[in-house]
Each structure stands twice: as structure tokens, then as C-alpha cells.
């Protein structure tokens, strides 16, 4: 935890499933707010706006030209993962066109 900049880093075992919404909820349960939530993925020739992983759906907002491979940092979008002023830029663009398998997350690449 970087207390000077109020940033926390959590490391998980490779290829495991992570409950992103649970992480954000744990921050709220402690009485704080999430300013941003980013995660590092190792992508393997990934393209398109819909990604399914470990039973969850990741809807890519404003996808950059792909396919993507290697280490990529994604940013999670939505009221649970952003400060209000940052959410204003994205709110109207969080529309799901990927179905609803498992948890639905909006991300940018």
C-alpha cells in the first residue's frame, strides 16, 4: 500500500479467477471510495469488443486497434470503480452488447 499516494497493489496467482467487484466492495466496506481500478492482463492475440474469461464478460469500451498480445493494463469503468468526476466521461458509453455471462465488467484497453 502506497499511503502517500493512496494506492494499493494486490498480486494474485497466475491464471486464477479474481473477483474484481468483490475487491471494490471491500474498499467500500472499509469506508473508503475507489478512485480507479486497473488490472494487468497477459493477452494472447485478443481482439474485438467482447472478452469472456473464467465465466465473466468483459465489454471493451472504445477498443483500440488489435489484436492485442502480451502484458496489457486495463482500466475498469463504472460507478463502483471510478470517482464521480471520471465516471461522467464514460457513463453514457457503458452499454452492453456482449450478453450477460457471469459478471459483466466494462473496461478500456
Amino acid at each position: 500500500m502506497n499511503l502517500e499516494h493512496t494506492e494499493g497493489k494486490i498480486t494474485f496467482t497466475p491464471n486464477g479467477k479474481v473477483d474484481i467487484s468483490g475487491i471494490a466492495q471491500a474498499v467500500k466496506n472499509a469506508g473508503f471510495s475507489v478512485r480507479y481500478l486497473k488490472a494487468g492482463f497477459v493477452l494472447d492475440n485478443t481482439a474485438g469488443t467482447c472478452i469472456n474469461y473464467k465465466g465473466d464478460t468483459y465489454s471493451v469500451v472504445h477498443p483500440t486497434a488489435g489484436p492485442h498480445s502480451g502484458t496489457t493494463v486495463v482500466t475498469f469503468l463504472g460507478p463502483a470503480y471510478q470517482a464521480k468526476k471520471d465516471l461522467k466521461k464514460w457513463g453514457s458509453q457503458l452499454t452492453n452488447g456482449c450478453g450477460t455471462k457471469g459478471n459483466l465488467y466494462y473496461i478500456t484497453l
Binding site: 498480486t11 496467482t13 475487491i23 469506508g31 488490472a39 474469461y53 470517482a83
Partner: protein, 331 residues
């Protein structure tokens, strides 16, 4: 797609940076984390002529939800006797410098709900509503109502707290609705039973302003750093007059109102006290604070000054799970 081993999480405000709003005498608008149990022992002392008065209390606090905190406080003190003073209210009111036994007073239940949260980096503004109920049955012979230690009753109010960098300020505003006390006055004729008496305390409005400053550390590095905070709190109260009804010796079911016009402590009153304090927080959990109080505008009649307070508080995490070392690593 695979997850990398890394997740970067940005948190708006870190725990330690709330320290300067953990005021010794007033609650901030922030809550205890969900599922966390807090235990606080605190004591208040002052000299009253030849007597040393003390009130000691134990408080349990629990975070029911991220926005709702509940508390239960039990206290004991030597502020009151088992009966009202002899010749109350016209004489011996208040009954100063007299020995009182240390008695269990009762319990106080408190709930706080945070309804507004505006968080920024190294700053926040929060508001909460609170409600309070106390059950105690003590022979409180002054007119000023206080839910913990003196009068049973109910209360409610709001809390507004602002924090920016190392500085915090908070305002608590509320009201107290004290319930009647039914007790007895010793009969001046020895051998006769005490005289039933009903004391109806005036309602009160409270207004408290607290300031806190995080003196140390200047820059946070880790949770093991000791926090030193300085505080300045103003406690204010305006309360109504007290009515005393004494049983008719010829007809015990009939009460007559005693005149209290010549008894200052039973008249309506108001005051503001100032309480500077200092606090240390060790390893982000053990909290020790001390403050001393003096009259600022008028005075309170329920105690003499200076009033010394000491508090010790610790959190416990009953729901914390122990994870295998290979599963998750926090840094």
C-alpha cells in the same frame, strides 16, 4: 485471456489519513468499517472541593454496514447518590463536596448513519445522522440533561465533517429529550420514609465544533507509523428549566410543584466549553487520547473544571480470513 499476477487498485483515501478526525470527545461523520468491532474505555475526572469525581465507561462499537455504525456504552460514576439531596431543590442543590458511592449508572445506545460521502484525493466531506437512547436511573440533582451518565432519554442530530490534508473540522448538532426521573428525597424527620419526587428536566440543544491536526508523520510510508494528532474541541449546550414535583405527605398520589426560581442550577442555561487534546495511534489500531476541558462561555453546573478525559481504543476484526501464503499477496 489470462490475468497477469498483478492488479493495481487505486484507493481514494487511505486509512491513516483519517486519523485527525478521530476526535476524543465527538464522533466524526465517518464510520467504523463493516464487520469491525471497536472497544473503547474512557474516563472523565475532576476535583470537586475535597472530592475526586470520576466517570468511567466501556463502549462497544460495530460497523453493521459501510454506512451504519452502532454503539453501546455502559458507565459508572460517583456523581450521584442513591437519593436526591436532603431538602432538594431549595437547599443542597447542587450537592457539592459530598461523598457519593461509585454506582453503575446505566447504558447508552447510539447509531450513526453516513448519508453523504464526497471523497477526493487526501480530502473528503461527509455527513451523518445519529440517534441515541440512554437508560439509566440516577438521582441527577442538576438541571442540565446529559444522556450518558446523568439523565435517561433520547437524542438525535447530524454530523458534518471535512478533512483536507492534515487538517479536519467537524460540527455536531443535535437535541436531547430527557425523560422524567422518579426518585426520592430523604425526609428531614429521621425514621420517616423518603419523599417521592418527580424531576422533569428541560430539553436541550447541543452544538459541538471539533478541530484536528495530524502532526506526525508528515509523510505516510506504512501502517506501522505512529500517529500524533492535536485536537481542539468546543462543546456547547443550551437547555431548558427543570421542574420538581414533590409528593404530598397527606396524599402520596398527589404531587405539588416546588419553586426552583432561586436555584440557578435548575434554571435554563447555556454554555460553551473548550477541550484541547492530544492523541497517539500506534500501528494504525491502538488509540490513546487525552484532553482537558475549561469553561469558555458561561459554565456547566454538572462538573467543576478542569475536566480531564482519557480514552483507550482498539479495533478487532472478527471476520478477517487467514489466507494461505500462496493465494494473495498484498503490498
Amino acid at each position: 485471456m489470462r490475468y497477469l499476477f498483478l492488479t493495481i487498485l487505486g484507493v481514494l483515501v487511505a486509512t491513516n489519513q483519517y486519523a485527525q478526525e478521530l476526535f476524543p470527545l465527538n464522533e466524526p461523520a465517518s464510520n467504523i468499517p463493516r464487520g469491525v468491532l471497536g472497544v473503547r474505555a474512557f474516563t472523565e475526572s475532576y476535583k470537586e472541593f475535597s472530592q475526586f469525581r470520576n466517570m468511567s465507561a466501556l463502549r462497544l462499537m460495530y460497523g453493521l454496514t459501510p454506512k451504519l455504525t452502532v454503539m453501546l456504552t455502559a458507565d459508572a460514576s460517583n456523581h450521584h447518590n442513591e437519593l436526591l439531596p436532603p431538602s432538594y431543590p431549595s437547599h443542597n442543590t447542587p450537592n457539592v463536596g459530598v461523598y457519593h458511592p461509585f454506582l453503575f449508572n446505566g447504558v447508552d445506545a447510539y447509531a450513526k448513519y453516513r448519508f453523504l460521502t464526497i471523497d477526493g484525493e487526501h480530502s473528503h466531506y461527509r455527513m451523518a445522522l445519529y440517534g441515541e437512547y440512554s437508560y439509566l436511573n440516577v438521582a441527577h440533582d442538576e438541571g442540565e440533561p446529559t444522556l450518558l451518565d446523568d439523565t435517561k432519554g433520547a437524542g438525535a442530530g447530524f454530523i458534518s465533517t471535512y478533512l483536507k490534508g492534515h487538517f479536519a473540522a467537524s460540527f455536531n448538532g443535535g437535541f436531547i429529550y430527557p425523560f422524567q426521573y422518579k426518585g426520592s428525597i430523604p425526609d428531614f424527620a429521621s425514621g420517616l420514609p423518603p419523599v417521592p419526587t418527580i424531576v422533569t428536566y428541560g430539553n436541550a440543544v447541543t452544538y459541538n465544533l471539533s478541530f484536528g491536526y495530524l502532526l506526525f508523520p508528515r509523510v505516510y510510508k506504512n501502517y506501522d507509523q505512529t500517529n500524533i494528532n492535536l485536537y481542539l474541541e468546543f462543546l456547547g449546550k443550551t437547555y431548558g428549566a427543570t421542574q420538581v414535583q414533590v409528593s404530598n405527605i397527606l396524599n402520596p398520589n398527589q404531587y405539588y410543584v416546588e419553586s426552583t426560581s432561586a436555584v440557578p442550577v435548575l434554571q435554563a442555561g447555556n454554555y460553551v466549553e473548550v477541550h484541547p487534546g492530544v492523541q497517539g495511534i500506534i500501528r494504525s489500531n491502538l488509540r490513546i487520547d487525552m484532553s482537558v476541558g475549561f469553561p469558555f462561555i458561561n459554565r456547566s453546573y454538572v462538573h467543576y473544571s478542569p475536566v480531564y478525559t482519557l480514552g483507550v481504543q482498539r479495533y478487532f476484526y472478527p471476520n478477517k480470513k487467514r489466507l494461505p501464503d500462496h493465494s494473495v499477496k498484498h503490498t
